[in-house]
Every structure is written in C-alpha cells, then in structure tokens.
Symmetry: C2
Subunit: 202 residues, 2 copies
DNA sequence: ACCTTTCCATGACAGCGGTCATAGTAGCCG
DNA sequence: CGGCTACTATGACCGCTGTCATGGAAAGGT
C-alpha cells in the first residue's frame, strides 16, 4: 500500500493494520508489530500507552482513512465516469493484490469487527472506519449522477458486497467472488443514475 | 438456533460454532467450548483427537450445513415466491436475532475465514461451508425462475452482500446495513427472472 | 465375575500473550 | 556542567491457551 517510511509510530500503525488484516486481531502480537515495523519494542508502550486496544484502534482508523482516500484516486482515474466503473476499480484493488502477492489479504476493519467481542472501543473504531469509508463513496456516487437519497444506501451495498466477496474469495483462494460481484452489481449501480444524467458529470 | 440437545459431541460442535461467531476463532478456548456445551472437558480430546483445528473445522462445516438447510425452510415459508423475498428472509434471520438477543452475532464461517491464517485446513473448511451454502441458494433461485447460468453468480452476490452487511451491522451496532442491502438488492434479483416466468413456479 | 471399549476427570507442562518496572541513551535548553 | 524530556532497551510477571499423560468410571458383552 502506501509504503512511505514515516516515523516509527506511523510505521507501527501501518504494520499493525497489515498484520491484522492478514492474521486477525487476536493472532497479531504486539511484539510482531514492532518487529514488522522495524521499530523498537520499547516504543510500543511509549507511543501507545493505551496498549493493544489503542494500537488496534489506530490501525483500524488508518485503514478507514486509507479506504476513503482511495475513492478519490479511483474517481480521478476512471476511464468512464459511471458507478459501475467505480465499483470495478474498488474491486480491482483486491484482485490486483492477489495477482501480485499471490495471497488474498483481508480487510483490517472486517477483521477487527469479527473479533471485537473483547473491546467495545475496537467495535466503535470499526464503525467509525466504515463511516469514513462510506462517506467518500456516497459522495462519489452523487458526483456520478446518482440521486442524493440513493447514494448512501448504494454505498452501503457496495461496501457490503465488497467485504463479503473479500471473505469468500479468501476462503476459496480465488478471486471469483470478487469478479462475480463486480459484474453482477454493475448494472444495478448504473441504473441508479437518471437517463438525463448519463455521460455528463464532472 | 437449533437448540436440540443431542449427544455431548454434537453439543460441543454447536457450542463451538456459537462461540466462534461471537468471539472469533482465536478468542474461543477449548475449555470455554466444553463449559458452554455443559460437556466434560475430558471429552474434548476423546471426540476431537485432531485438537482445536478439528473442532473448528466441524463447527464451520456444521454452520455451512445449517445455512444451506435454512434456505429450504425459507423457500417453504415464502409468502410470494420471488428471489427478493428469499433474500429478505435470509436477511431477516439476522435482524430477528438482533431484535430478540439484543446483540448482533457474526457468522462462524466468516469468523473462521478471517483468522484462518494459521491453518490451511480451516480455510478449506470455510470454503466448503460457503459451497454448501451457495448450492441451495442457487437451486432455490432457479426454482424461482432465474435462468440457470445466472443462479450461481447471483447466489454469490447474495451471500457476499449478506456477509458484508452482517459485518457492518455488527460494527455499527445497528441493523441498518442489513435492511439497506435487502431493500437495494431486491429489484436486481427479481429482474433476473424472465417476464414469462413471473408468478408461476412451484 | 472379568475384561474391553467408550467416555470422563484432572493435573501438569510448555509456550506465548500483553503489560509493567526499571534502567539506559540521545538530544536539547540553560 | 546539570537537568529535563523524548525515546529505547530488557527482563520479569501473570494469565491463559492447547496439548498431553495418567487414571478413574460406566457399559456391555461373554
């Protein structure tokens, strides 16, 4: 993802997100995070006095911001400005990872949600992350001509389908669910923009 | 769910599925499973010599069979035989649980997929579970008049959206994503059955 | 009665988890 | 230099986990 080498603190948050989305929250240890980030273990308690809960929370928040930010970049690169093309780009981010890395990673936010039972704070962080992801998607949809009252529901549908397809794809070890979802959902998304708006938005 | 009290072995598999979907795979201990099932701890090593991996695998398989079996029951109870009604019933199973239990549980299969990194066997069990779930859904769709070649893809879309919505709903602590997905996806599903088949299937 | 199989009980072990306590280093300000 | 703050290092603690070893109870067949 964004492989820039910022300060140790930022690297640790980033590494935490990486490890969480790969192994799950419970299976990622603090020591692993420090090692993966090439950061001193002693820094953990200095930068994250709130312990693992804080680290996980920041990792999830980071993932939410990242996902939201990607939407803007996708919009800029769209060959044709349609909702289905945006969704296809969102899906392609995941299939591309499979092609290059050979493995299908998961979504840190979903991982945090699945074993959030221990910590209410983590659940709230995940909820916030979904919100900061859904917002830009809904905005993008309205930019693409989707009526305002349908933008939020459709954004929810897009993210839900994507998250579910990621899980199924990981289980099967194949991108099929991802590509299927992109193909099947496309027409519905495009049908949401009124005919007089087709081919014309900024 | 199916609260029948069978033998201790079956109870333990059932309890494992319950705990996994609530806490995640890593966070559910073998001792917890035995206690939750009112089963002796010593039975674990007797019934599941394969250890936790075996228990998790059977719990996931059980969940897959359960989900697949539910589809048939949903079909029998449908007020009107449309794909959207089937999907609504699938979604309602989860919103109902929220109404009664006050908490939103997760899906054991999704939970197993998320932290399956440690065990390839678990990943395969999850894949198998998704297959034994998707099969009945696709069959039901064809029974409802969906052309054969679209049944499987649409089943994948339905399950993906449902799984994703479950996760978002858990994070937000609200059923909104579930109801939204059901409402938004309904028209697409019904549109898949050709006009000359509307109102007529067995 | 006796023995075999199935099932249950319990305690021990080794490993790893997060967290705390303590102490050391680097840099900057006076 | 002294003192202060930011950061790093390391080791110890306690709790928990899955697993194993050993031994005890039923049960049922002969």
């Amino acid at each position: 993802m964004a492989g820039v080498q910022r300060g140790p603190r930022e690297r640790m948050v980033f590494s935490a997100a990486q490890l969480i989305r790969h192994d799950g929250v419970g299976a990622t240890g603090m020591r692993d995070v420090a090692e993966h980030a090439n950061a001193p273990r002693g820094s953990l308690q200095h930068y994250f006095p709130g312990g693992k809960e804080q680290l996980v929370g920041e990792a999830v928040a980071w993932a939410g911001r990242y996902a939201g930010g990607r939407v803007a970049r996708f919009m800029a690169d769209l060959a044709e400005p349609t909702p289905s093309a945006l969704f296809a780009a969102m899906v392609r981010q995941w299939t591309d990872e499979y092609e290059t890395a050979g493995v299908l990673g998961g979504c840190p936010v979903a991982a945090a949600t699945v074993d959030c039972a221990a910590s209410e704070a983590t659940r709230e962080a995940a909820a916030a992350a979904f919100t900061t992801w859904r917002g830009p998607v809904a905005e993008a949809l309205t930019e693409l001509g989707v009526p305002a009252e349908r933008a939020e529901p459709l954004a929810t549908l897009m993210i839900s389908s994507l998250e579910g397809a990621i899980i199924m794809a990981r289980a099967e070890g194949d991108v099929r669910p991802l590509t299927t979802v992109a193909r099947e959902l496309g027409p519905l998304l495009d049908a949401a923009v009124p005919p007089d708006d087709r081919r014309g938005e900024a």
